[in-house]
């Protein structure tokens, strides 16, 4: 059996090379994310850093670990998806060969064993190559993470001996799992199919496939309906999952959805268009295999980025409507802690709320259930804070050794006790005596009254002061005086400018994280698309020859193939956008229920890049493979049967 597998591999190397490539890249990506995650999770703060710097390092590490964990999950998800669909596709391309084996006496179990044997060979080959490639990918990924500031410069992953066997095992298992169902289906091929001149296409939409697709779709609808009930954080998590489920559902249902949609996209009237449309109707599996990775890619990319952008927009809108200030002073805390008084004393200033954001170790619960996490706390003057943020409610109780639940509080509410440690200063368990409303964009978990922490600890931290002017005072004069009073490096801005600037910063940090998480995954999914294109077109030499023998020029054959591929890509993009629309609808509902106004914002340059990229890549693949598949004179291809 293994010899037959090997002979099969040698003979159909183009489609198998594609399968090996997907295993290789998938394993490389997963291995790289895993190694970086391990390195990041066990990194130590640089020697000699102060207590606050250590907590900051800790905090940055949590962000890096989260981003890497999400990347790893996405890479694993895409690897399962792309590898399984590629292998299933290569099996379906070979029904004739398998029928022939059945004709000369192969049993069903032997066909399954043969296909699994091939998957084993391909899986091991691909995993070994992927593990080697992964050592290169990890450099690219580290560079990306360092570049967008998620990892400190000089960070790097260390090799672990167990990674190689783990990667080979996982890669091989994925290949086998991908083939298993397709092989069981292929084993039911009737021997007579080897004799049919035109291969009878296998029934694509099985009952299991329908059930899976409908269940996933129903899950997406349920999440969409529940998203307004989840609160700011829960609603966001649900919204993000809607597009994930919807994209999977549409990918599973692609054999139904893609040909219908793609057929409608082909212009009517021309003979090439008619030919392309007929092929779309006839070759359901080919269309579905090309479109499925696109659906998942676009669904995830647009869904995730749309959610991130819209939430940033909603957060800024909420901040704008809940902040009552004219000017914002950004400065650095000094040793004597008198900055707030100096700014309040500037003539023309009505009220000034100085706020310092710090990372802190917060402990909730006690005994067995105690949990400590790194969160942000905000040191405020409660009275001034109330005036600068009129929707905050009363903070009168917030004085002495007490804290208030902040806009980003998740696990504490009035009446709880929370342990607070900043650097080496342990404030012990403090009662939560008040709570400000939660914000859609999150924020500090706790508000600490000024004076609770020693001034030396705050020294050097960034201070943000929201200033309200007294009626009739000159804005420009007060701004100049504030700049002088703010000390070295102080910067005074109009509150609208400051809001716009912070929105932009939040957006660009979202973009960086998205690029890191999605960039490599997106390239991987595109390779899946290219691969499906190559495998599909390589099997069409005879069909192309027939078309040319019927009077089409080589150029027209290639044109029709490209037209067909573009229609399929267009359908994939539209279905992906439909999946993403699920998340965007959930975002609209969730932000509307959290802030009162619905927010939606899309990263249009990214959308444009994905659309043009998809058309360019699939068009080029299709043109190139169709051109090389029509290189031989048609009469020669039609004569040769084997």
């Amino acid at each position: 059996m293994l010899q037959l597998s090997w002979a099969g591999l040698r003979d159909r190397w183009t489609s198998f090379a594609g399968a090996v490539l997907t295993v290789c890249l998938g394993v490389a990506l997963v291995q790289s994310s895993l190694l970086l995650l391990l390195a990041s999770a066990t990194a130590d703060a640089p020697a000699g850093s102060g207590p606050v710097a250590q907590v900051r390092f800790e905090e940055a590490r949590v962000v890096a670990v989260t981003v890497l964990a999400v990347t790893l999950a996405l890479a694993a998800f895409l690897a399962v998806f792309v590898i399984a669909s590629t292998f299933a596709f290569t099996v379906d391309q070979r029904r004739r060969d398998l029928a022939l084996l059945r004709l000369v006496g192969a049993g069903r179990r032997q066909v399954v064993r043969l296909l699994l044997g091939e998957a084993l060979l391909l899986g091991v080959l691909g995993s070994l190559a992927g593990s080697a490639l992964g050592t290169g990918v990890v450099r690219v990924q580290t560079w990306l993470m360092v570049r967008v500031g998620l990892l400190p410069a000089g960070a790097g992953a260390r090799w672990h001996a167990w990674v190689l066997p783990a990667c080979v095992g996982v890669g091989t298992a994925l290949a086998l799992a991908g083939v298993f169902l397709a092989a069981r289906r292929a084993a039911r091929v009737r021997p007579l199919e080897a004799l049919d001149a035109e291969e009878e296409p296998a029934r694509v939409m099985t009952r299991g496939r329908w059930t899976t697709g409908v269940l996933l779709g129903a899950g997406a609808v349920v999440l969409l309906a529940l998203s307004p009930l989840g609160g700011p954080a829960g609603g966001r998590a649900m919204a993000v999952c809607v597009s994930l489920l919807a994209a999977l559902a549409l990918a599973v249902l692609a054999p139904v959805a893609v040909p219908a949609l793609a057929g409608a996209l082909v212009p009517r009237g021309g003979v090439l268009g008619d030919l392309a449309r007929a092929n779309l109707r006839d070759e359901v599996r080919r269309s579905a295999s090309t479109a499925a990775p696109l659906i998942v890619l676009v669904g995830l990319l647009l869904g995730q980025s749309g959610a991130a952008w819209s939430y940033t927009e909603a957060a800024v809108a909420q901040l704008r409507s809940t902040t009552a200030a004219d000017l914002v002073v950004e400065s650095t805390a000094d040793a004597d802690g008198a900055l707030a008084q100096r700014l309040s004393a500037v003539p023309g200033v009505g009220s000034a709320s100085s706020e310092v954001e710090l990372p802190a170790a917060l402990t909730t619960g006690s005994g067995e259930t105690a949990f400590t996490g790194i969160r942000r706390v905000l040191v405020v003057d409660p009275g001034a804070y109330e005036r600068a943020h009129p929707t905050s409610g009363s903070l009168q109780a917030l004085r002495g050794a007490a804290v208030a639940a902040g806009p980003g509080a998740l696990e504490s509410s009035t009446g709880d006790r929370v342990g607070v440690r900043v650097g080496q200063v342990d404030l012990g368990p403090l009662p939560v005596v008040a709570a400000v409303p939660q914000a859609v964009g999150g924020g500090p978990a706790l508000l600490l009254p000024a004076g609770l922490l020693p001034a030396e600890l705050l020294q050097g931290s960034a201070v943000r002061t929201f200033v309200q002017l007294q009626g009739g005072s000159d804005r420009r004069q007060v701004a100049a005086a504030l700049t002088a009073a703010g000390g070295r490096g102080a910067r005074v801005s109009d509150v609208q400018d400051w809001l716009a600037r912070s929105a932009q910063q939040a957006g660009s940090s979202d973009t960086s994280i998205l690029v890191v998480v999605m960039g490599l995954g997106a390239s991987y999914a595109l390779i899946g698309v290219v691969n499906a294109g190559v495998v599909a077109t390589a099997a069409r030499r005879r069909e192309f020859a027939t078309a040319r023998a019927s009077g089409l020029t080589r150029r027209q054959v290639v044109g029709s193939a490209v037209l067909e591929t573009w229609a399929v890509s267009g359908a994939g993009l539209l279905l992906g956008a439909l999946a993403a629309a699920g998340t965007l609808a959930a975002v609209l509902i969730a932000t509307a229920s959290a802030t009162g106004t619905a927010s939606i914002d899309l990263p249009w340059p990214l959308v444009a890049a994905v659309v043009t990229g998809a058309f360019a890549v699939t068009g080029a693949t299709s043109a190139w493979t169709a051109w090389s598949a029509t290189r031989t004179a048609p009469v020669q291809l039609l004569r040769a049967r084997e």
Binding site: D11, L101, G105, G107, P191, A640, R641
Partner: protein, 248 residues
């Protein structure tokens, strides 16, 4: 039960009131219609008829490749009408062999590997000498390591015959075995089939070519799914005349 009504038979292949219809409703095509046929062991029978007369379907039903709608199919006395997939698989490994117009060799395997494939699939490892001998018998001893695409059409068909005969099947089913060959290659193939029949194996061959049918012991003429005529020991001219008389 209807099977009890069947008389014991020594025929290699027996069809009893076999019918097979494709499709349903107004587009239904009755490819085989109430056919009764006995093909004696050790004889070579040609099946002829116009295009679409149902001769290939008849062959596929007799070989167990196609399930019949009604009637019984017996192969060497065994009723295979309702046999399950495993039984039919075993049958293909041991008791029947196939040859087709389009050769149907596994393109990735050499001639020798193609020939030994049925035995390997049956879990046997044939001695190299047996495979060489099978290839020598069809005149291809020198081509054992060639791949199908390196062989001419006639050579490929001879490899297919060697593959079909290596299991020493009781019945050899051949569907237009000379359809894609020039006349001298066709003659070589027909010689091999003659030798098989003379050696005691039964051969059932569907063909368009009266000259090919004339090499068989008997010719069955089929039209519209029914057996219309049966000619024994006729030459090509007689067969062609009978065919023409049928309106083919």
């Amino acid at each position: 039960m209807p099977t009890n009504a069947l008389a014991p038979t020594t025929a290699a292949v027996s069809l009893r009131a076999v019918s097979k219809t494709y499709g349903s409703g107004p587009t239904a095509v009755r490819a085989v219609d109430q056919v009764d046929l006995d093909l004696a062991t050790g004889t070579w029978t040609a099946v002829m008829g116009p295009s679409g007369s149902g001769k290939s379907t008849l062959l596929n039903c007799a070989a167990g490749l196609e399930r019949v709608d009604s009637g019984r199919v017996l192969l060497g006395g065994t009723d295979i009408t309702d046999a399950d997939d495993e039984t039919l698989t075993r049958l293909r490994r041991t008791r029947v062999g196939f040859i087709f117009q389009s050769f149907n060799l596994v393109a990735s395997l050499s001639a020798a590997q193609n020939v030994e494939l049925p035995l390997r699939l049956a879990g046997k490892r044939p001695p190299r000498a047996d495979v060489r001998e099978a290839l020598r018998a069809v005149g291809l001893a020198e081509r054992a390591d060639h791949r199908p695409r390196q062989l001419s059409g006639g050579q490929q068909q001879r490899v297919a015959i060697a593959r079909a005969l290596i299991t020493r099947p009781q019945v050899l089913f051949a569907d237009e075995p000379t359809g894609a060959l020039d006349s001298s290659a066709a003659r070589g193939v027909l010689d091999l089939l003659r030798a098989a029949a003379d050696g005691g194996q039964s051969v059932v061959m569907v063909t368009h070519d009266p000259a090919a049918a004339a090499r068989a012991d008997a010719t069955v003429l089929v039209r519209d799914g029914r057996v219309e005529d049966r000619v024994v020991g006729a030459d090509a001219v007689t067969v062609a005349a009978r065919l023409a008389a049928m309106g083919a």
